[in-house]
Amino acid sequence: MDAILLQILNGLDKGSAYALIALGLTLIFGTLGVVNFAHGALFMIGAFCAVTVQRLLSLSYEVVDESQKDFLGNPLKVKTPYVESWFGPEMGGAIIDWAVPIAILFAIPIMVCVGYVMERGLIKHFYKREHADQILVTFGLAIVLQEVIKYFYGANPIQTPSPEALSGVANVGALLGMDIVYPVWRIVYFFFSVVIIGAIFSFLQFTTFGMVVRAGMADRETVGLLGINIDRRFTIMFGIAAAVAGLAGVMYTPINSPNYHMGMDFLVLSFVVVVVGGMGSLPGAVLAGFLLGILESFASMNEIKSIIPGIDQIIIYVVAIIILLTRPRGLMGRKGVMEE
């Protein structure tokens, strides 16, 4: 029983990342009709925003310590971060320790700008082109972005830890009288994703801007005929979708050390999530994200793998095939989307 609950938690946690990325993908597809293969790269850029903030906060000056030697036998240059000399070792250390949450503030404007430039500079020229063209150009863009990141940050993973106060494990089974521990940061990640998903849905549901966007998603031409500049709003939605992917990346960095190809690792899975949820369906993307996350976790259990070896590597695709055969529009897909 403990093992099952643990895998459910694990699935919700994995599903959080899938849902956040798939939500952004669906927002872009639903508003602009673009199949954005560069969305994984946006997740990766968000993660590297956290790396950048960590590096900026850790910028140091060097003091030569004659009592210690470096690897060549020369006096060791001891590095002291500027923030520690400005705010004292304790306060400065705490600021560096909280680099990842601080990076959220840095990442939001950066990601909105990246999304805006990407949409205005490249993707808008492909609105009226075939989906295949859109896939090719955005996939190419993703490769360019990841190579740029590799050039500046290298190919190795970069450790970006969570704040000390949010590391370690919490006994989440105590309420049920069970001994189930789970990493605190992963619980934080799950609730963070719930808040972001809730905020996006509330924004679309309860604001005038959101109402116009929803109307535009349903019937773009009619909204345009009413004198509303729907293109501008859709561009802003692209920026918001980029910010969602970026924030998912920032918060993911303590879970796995970021590297330049982390976006590609998530991209294919996220597309499967979108297709299973139903193209253009925001609730479908979220539901499918969590569902596939949980299924993937269960498939990794030794008991399951002993019955069907290798199932952990294919479960998501098997489920996708079954759902598309039984419900061709996905779990919550709408009639007419991508059916022309």
Partner: protein, 448 residues
Amino acid sequence: MSKSAFSRRGVLKSGALAGTGLALPTIFTASSAAAFTNDPTGSSVTLGFNVPQTGPYADEGADELRAYQLAVEHLNGGGDGGMMNTFSSKELQGNGILGKKVEFVTGDTQTKSDAARASAKSMIEKDGAVMITGGSSSGVAIAVQGLCQEAGVIFMAGLTHSNDTTGKDKKANGFRHFFNGYMSGAALAPVLKNLYGTDRNAYHLTADYTWGWTQEESIAAATEALGWNTVNKVRTPLAATDFSSYIAPVLNSGADVLVLNHYGGNMVNSLTNAVQFGLREKVVNGKNFEIVVPLYSRLMAKGAGANVKGIHGSTNWHWSLQDEGSQAFVRSFGTKYGFPPSQAAHTVYCQTLLYADAVQRAGSFNPCAVVEALEDYEFDGLGNGKTLYRGEDHQCFKDVLVVRGKENPTSEFDLLEVVEVTPAAQVTYPADHPMFAGGALGSCNSGA
């Protein structure tokens, strides 16, 4: 009106014949023109450095390339000579190899077997490389070693730790300086016994490919010989990034040791996930839970950050070694590049010098002469103590280091500390050991 002497049919026939001739890979025809493949007839000789320049091991590949460039500089008489000064053989004089200036070409393995074979093939056929070396993966090493055997050139393997490289997939034209999974197990077992006792339950997470399988087999055999029980061996996909669903079952498995048979990004992520799940603070069966990473790399340890502290593993070489050879190499590399070399850099630098020395001793670039010079060759002064290139399987036998993640590093390079130098005799095994069974070394191929 003149009538052409060429008929359409004739032109087509001639074209087809000429085309067939041109298309026939030179790799299979070299023997007709020379005594062996890519016999260097000019004033220079070309070596082929095949390393990952793109992909997840690109940083390791970059460090290999730095070491290769340093080795070429030293061979040609530049720099301070590095380990050429400490090498027990004094054949190399800094005037190239057999008086020919050493030049090199590079290829990108991408850490993919097919890409690595293609780049090696290109360096042999188009650039005339007489020796291929490099790599950061056993899958790649085995694939390229096979190609070099067919092509009739020497392959001096880079970073490859699978038993199979000099086991079932060994080849007469291939040589491995790096240690292997069996040696890791043999070196680690006594240290683990002293630290954690003989009553332990180990849980293995293993990368699902040749290297992972043979390391798992080696470590499990070594720890079971101590009296440890192996609770489970779970294979994880090479492409996995989040290992939480594989770590979670460990919590309630009854295991008190987790062995991570992972390397590179897999190792960074699985170790990070294991620490996140509180395994290091866990007490099972009245004992502290322990994690072991059998194959360590400083470059990868950096990615795992503070999570490596106190965790034991093995490594081929470390820059903090105090022997004359290691110090000479660290001084040479550090002065040129500003940071200490990795074990990958050390390995490929040694392989380049060993190849050059073998050619010099043999007095010929002929691969069969080089094979003969390297087989059962004993040397010293290259950083691992006295070393033997065993003739039966072309595996180097030398001291192996057991290392631990350092608790209080003084710099970004100071991540591991050597806790024991395991003597070569303790990690030596018979050539017909069951873990290395299958396959045959065969005879050398010069391409003639």
